[in-house]
């Protein structure tokens, strides 16, 4: 819109500022809460300015030395678990989707359409729907409390396959033919031509899938019983005891802030690529 009317400008600013406040205020409260002692937070009214206990709280959280009634697993380790799972899920998803999209687009084999639709149909079956049978399989394979159990069932991805398929379809056929004339075999073409062209899509998907992996809650809740395999998102919940005892809200809030940092970092660092991958198709 190139309209310039003061009232419209004022209204749009008002709406945007309101939106920012709605999103940012809880984050601010979380941060403020993570800098006070647990007694200070439960006062009414709650303090709205940062307190002096920032370093102390975060140290307790990371090392798991708060002495709370609920779970006191060290957040540092949980973040490591989360990081490994999210990375494995993101990288695994991208690798598998790239290869399956490559197979579907560039090879003529019997049942090609069938396999494409079979992959496509799994869009209707997210983990939550098939959680019972998947749990059965994972537990029978002895993968409970392992990284494999945390990641493998989440790796297959119809969305990413579909995205790469659409991208590959938009790559001109002449490029494939030029590569054939140049003597590049299928894998060589994939590696030398297709992959570099997909860079931006890969980056965009990485961001999306990393956050998806990081935010997993339900699945880890099922397959991990050992504190040393808790991812951080689940760890936050475990820190809140069900009303029997006072919660160390300051530590919980510190953990929440810590859990938000890596996804935010990934988005910030890859923002340029991310937007490029979603917006333009560089060909």
């Amino acid at each position: 819109m190139v309209e310039r009317r003061p009232l419209a400008t004022a209204i749009s600013h008002f709406v945007l500022i309101l939106g920012v406040i709605i999103i940012a205020f809880p984050l601010y409260i979380t941060f403020v809460a993570s800098t006070h002692t647990s007694q200070d937070i439960v006062q009414v009214p709650m303090p709205l300015l940062p307190g002096p206990h920032l370093i102390e709280n975060y140290t307790h959280a990371i090392q798991g030395t708060s002495g709370s009634a609920a779970s006191t697993a060290p957040v540092g380790h949980m973040m490591l678990v989360s990081l490994i799972s999210a990375l494995v899920i993101a990288v695994g998803k991208i690798a598998i989707s790239l290869l399956s999209a490559f197979a579907i687009v560039y090879f003529r084999f019997p049942g090609r359409t069938f396999f494409f639709w079979a992959i496509f149909v799994t869009l209707m079956l997210p983990v939550e729907v098939r959680i019972g049978p998947t749990y059965q399989v994972v537990s029978d394979l002895g993968m409970l409390n392992t990284y494999a159990g945390l990641t493998v069932p989440l790796i297959a991805s119809a969305t990413a396959t579909f995205l790469f398929r659409q991208f590959f379809l938009s790559v001109p056929d002449e490029l494939v033919e030029a590569a054939r004339v140049d003597g590049a075999g299928p894998m060589r073409f994939f590696w030398d031509v297709l992959l570099p062209l997909s860079r931006t899509s890969i980056a965009a998907l990485f961001v999306i899938q990393f956050i998806y992996g990081w935010n997993q809650y339900l699945w880890p809740l099922l397959v991990t019983t050992d504190e040393s395999m808790y991812p951080v998102v689940m760890g936050i919940k475990r820190m809140i005891s069900g009303g029997d005892a006072a919660n160390d809200w300051n530590i919980v809030m510190a953990t929440a802030i810590l859990a938000m940092i890596p996804p935010a970092l990934v988005v910030l660092l890859m923002q340029r690529w991310f937007v490029k991958g979603l917006v333009d198709a560089e060909k």
Partner: protein
Amino acid sequence: MASISLRNLVKRYGHGPNANQVIHGVNAEVQHGEFVVIVGPSGCGKSTLLRMVAGLEEISGGEIAIGSRVVNTLEPAERDIAMVFQNYALYPHMSVFDNMAYGLKIAKVPKDEIKTRVDKAAKILELGHLLERKPRELSGGQRQRVAMGRAIVRQPQVFLFDEPLSNLDAKLRAQTRLEIQKLHRELGITSLFVTHDQVEAMTLAQRMIVMNGGHMEQFGTPEEVYHQPASTFVASFIGSPPMNLLQHAPGARPGTLLGIRPEHLDVGSEGWEVVVDTVELLGAERLIYARLGGEPLIVRVEEGALAPRPGDTLHVAPRENRLHWFDADSGKRL
């Protein structure tokens, strides 16, 4: 010696009675070092024919030999050919140098040899200062030259061009046409060049194949094709404006067609009596659209000659030695 032999070449899509046949038994022998243009209207199978030679389309019947080697089942890379595509098909993420070097890299040519060859090709095509650029930073004409460079560095037996000039503007097209001619003179590599543009065909070809509906209508030098067209199709496809084809010309036997080019009709005091419909001035010459009996007839005259007006009656005399006779049913030359 890299001649190209096409023997009874057939291309079908699909199987059985419903198969769609697009190439109907083409036979042609291209000599070593010859520049042959394949020309025809859209959908006549000319690109398919070229792609079969390249190995990008399977061959349904017949044989293709490059040199003495039958290449029917060989991969494109094994046929010792290089191809220039219509949209250039440059790898967008590679520099000009890498684009040209890619085929050699795969063929495991030593690094310094690659560099020598690319530099040499770049020098021929005046691309030396662009080697580090990406294709998107180049103009259409420069991309076209890179595509040719990629073909040259491979030092193939055969060059295949698939309408490489159709994405260039008119001026650049004429210039590139000259460059391709020069290149062919310098390198002397057997070339097949597909185009739908008859000017390109006439100017570039040493010999040309005129295709229509998957059939080869004529294979000959531009002079032969122009002066002795093998069929009414060739007669009307090559030449602008096309040859006049008359069914009821004075002196024509029933079942035959008389062909006469617009420039081989002389306006004078005797000959056929025609009525003028329209007159067009093309600069150096005028086209007179007239009717002979009921049939349309185009006459080309010098710009300096007196311009008739619509409705005028003229006498035009055909030059006897420039008459072409065709069979009315088959369209073949008699």
